[in-house]
Each structure stands twice: as C-alpha cells, then as structure tokens.
C-alpha cells in the first residue's frame, strides 16, 4: 500500500511517498514519476520521510528513469530516507546512481 501526493514549492515538485513500495504498489510510483516528467518538471524531490519499505520493484522504477533524467536535464533527489530504506539503495550501490540527501533543505540545494 502506497499513498502518493504532490505539491509544488517554487519550481520544485515534491512527491511524497507514504507506506510501502513493493511489486504490488510500484506501478503507482511509476505513474507519478512519468506524470512529473510529462509535466516538464526539472526539479523533482521525493519525500521519503514516511516511506517504510522499498523492494526492487520500487528501486527499478527510479533506475528506469535515470536516462530520461539525464537527457532531459531533470534533477531528482530523494530525501528523508530511514536507515533501513537507505540501506536497500546501498546494497547494490544505487545510492551512487541516484541523488540522496538528508532533508528537504539539502535536497533543494542539490537540485
């Protein structure tokens, strides 16, 4: 189960994830990211403060857009990850391919 909500602050789109992203719910994350790209946002922040779990299905969604982010000059930063969620990104070294920061302030400055 995942709840996804969007808000904008200045020229940032903040996508808030609440709950668990697994093989069953990752399609919602996929749709949210695709929509953000289609709407031409160049600064996308993913609020993970209430993300309690992520499996490979969720990691795969982020990975599948890395090329689009690069070719369309989109900056995406994840922030507010719990230690256990951050660890899942680190196991395969995905923390080196995606931008991850501590909090909203840091995420904005990384964009």
């Amino acid at each position: 189960m995942i709840d996804i909500s969007n808000k904008t602050e200045e020229d940032f789109l903040i996508i808030k994830l609440e709950g668990e992203v697994d093989a069953s719910s990752s399609i919602h994350l996929d749709k949210a990211l695709r929509k953000a790209i289609e709407q031409n946002f160049k600064k996308i922040l993913i609020d993970c403060n209430n993300l309690s779990y992520i499996s490979s299905a969720g990691l795969g969604v982020f990975m599948s857009y890395i090329q689009d982010f690069q070719s369309q000059n989109i900056n995406l930063v994840l922030f507010g990850l719990s230690d256990k969620v951050k660890n899942v990104f680190e196991i395969l070294g995905l923390d080196q391919l995606l931008k991850i920061s501590k909090n909203l302030e840091d995420a904005k400055s990384l964009c």
């Binding site: 668990e20 697994d22 795969g60 990975m63 230690d83 899942v88 395969l92 391919l97």
Partner: protein, 140 residues
C-alpha cells in the same frame, strides 16, 4: 524455532508474507536494518515466483517455512511452490549499466537476494520446487 505460512499467488499477499517474517524475526533481537534485509530477500523471491512462475494466479499458492537455529545463529527459509521451476542459481545477472541503458524495471530483485543471503539452494522435482535461503545473523 519453526514457523510456517501459506499464501495465494497474489502480489497483494506480499505484505502479509513480509509481516509474518518481520514479526517472527523481531522476537530474536535483531536490529531493524538486518530484519528489513532478510524480509526484503524473501519478498523478492516470493514476488518473482508469484509473477513469473504463477502469473499472479490466486488459485495457486506458495508455502514458506522459516526456521531459526536453536543457537540463534541464523535463519533458514524454504519457499515451496508447485509451478514451473525457477532456478535462481541459473539466473544471469544484468549489469546496473544494462538496466539503466535499457530502462528496465526488473532484474534488481534477484541481485539483492544474492547480496543479502549467505547461502542459496534450489531443488526441483516433478511435484514441487524448493528454494532454500540461509542467512547468518550478524553479531552472533
């Protein structure tokens, strides 16, 4: 200490599978990160079976046996299904570059399982397939 769980082959049941594993591991004094990694590895194997071997058919089921060593040194899982056998050990890993270049959403799950678990076995007979995973607990 043995625990057993049976679930229909539906992606919506993955959460119940995770809750079952997490709840039982919590009784054994492991930290959150370690519990989450073990839960994740089993979730990945189950998701893979449900989606690829059983086509998400809720009339089919899989069985999960969980056994924590008497000395609390580690945990063994047996994931049993009766579908088309999928041998995780024969799975050829894509590289992360391939995944990014081909915009693939899959391929990371079994990589995670291999990184997390200490031992993986697969046995297939005409009646059933058994995927066995072992993880040694840290600090034991």
């Amino acid at each position: 200490m043995k625990y057993n769980f049976k679930a229909p082959c539906s992606k919506k049941k993955l959460r119940a599978i995770r809750n079952f594993i997490g709840k039982n591991l919590k009784k054994h004094n492991l930290d959150d990160i370690e519990i989450n990694m073990i839960v994740l590895a089993v979730d990945e194997v189950c998701a893979n079976l449900i989606i690829h071997s059983h086509d998400c058919d809720p009339n089919e089921s899989l069985e999960l046996n969980m056994n924590i060593d008497a000395k609390h040194e580690g945990v063994t899982f047996e994931i049993i299904d009766r579908g088309e056998g999928f041998n995780i050990l024969n799975y050829k890993e894509p590289s992360l570059d391939d995944i990014v270049r081909n915009k693939k959403k899959g391929g990371l799950g079994l990589m995670l399982v291999k990184r997390i678990m200490d031992h993986i076995e697969f046995k297939s007979s005409p009646k059933k397939n058994v995927c066995k995973l072992y993880k040694k607990f840290e600090n034991h």
